[in-house]
Amino acid sequence: MELIETAFTPWASLVGGLLIGLGTVLLMVVRGNVLGATGILAGFMTPSSSSDWAWRATIIAGMLSGPFALMLFTGHLPAIEVPVTKWMMILGGFIVGMGVTYGSGCTSGHGVCGMSRLSPRSITATLTFMLAAGITVYIIRHVIGG
């Protein structure tokens, strides 16, 4: 565990957010689906039909191209700085997988798609996972790490 300071990047983050929004709206216009990463990935691994699998594979291919498309403009891959241990990555990953399956969604599905539809379920879920993440980081950094 170490602390890695990151610079405040309002413009890059805002443009990133706007692009996420555009992609999300585009998928709704084209196919009528919500762009929730959890649902798309889970359905990709256990598809209900071959056409169901095909569109999920297509959008995931688009997502995977994202870091390289960005590299054409910036000249480098996006920074992935990891302040935590490999064990925390494994533990965190497993917990995330369990949580998003029981909670039926994640930051994209509930936080972007659901919040934008003013779904009470998604607003509840988003407030819950934001709060839980905040408390977790506080405990890791200021209670255990403090």
Binding site: F8, M89, F94
Partner: protein
Amino acid sequence: MEKILTYIAGLMFGVGVSLGGMANPAKVQNFFDVFGIWDPSLAFVMGGAVLITAPGYWLVFRRGKPLFASGFSVPTNRTIDVKLIGGSAVFGIGWGIAGFCPGASIPVTATLNPDVLIFTGAMIAGIFTAKGLMAWSASRNLQADQA
């Protein structure tokens, strides 16, 4: 055409996540570290995404139907239950521990960064474990009902 547009939707999402800093665990954890080395950037990612999606969805729904499907496939479940809140709380804990969420990790698995691959592998294991547990408890409830 449908395939190309679906690909572009994923591409925009993947570029947005990468550019916004959502796929950088240090940035994600610093966003939540309000009492430490706080970096509020990710509020702009979430804010920017909702700023486009909320009016965008409203316009699309008003149009009546999608371009290449007979209707919208939008979640209809309205129940706020323990499963939703408990699952979301568990997700938040994992997000806080690792600094990756599913939508952020998927695009950057393409970079073959070892931490992303470890996280995503563990996340997929978690998804299948939860699905298995849900199927098991559903079949157990069914048997209990029949008994």
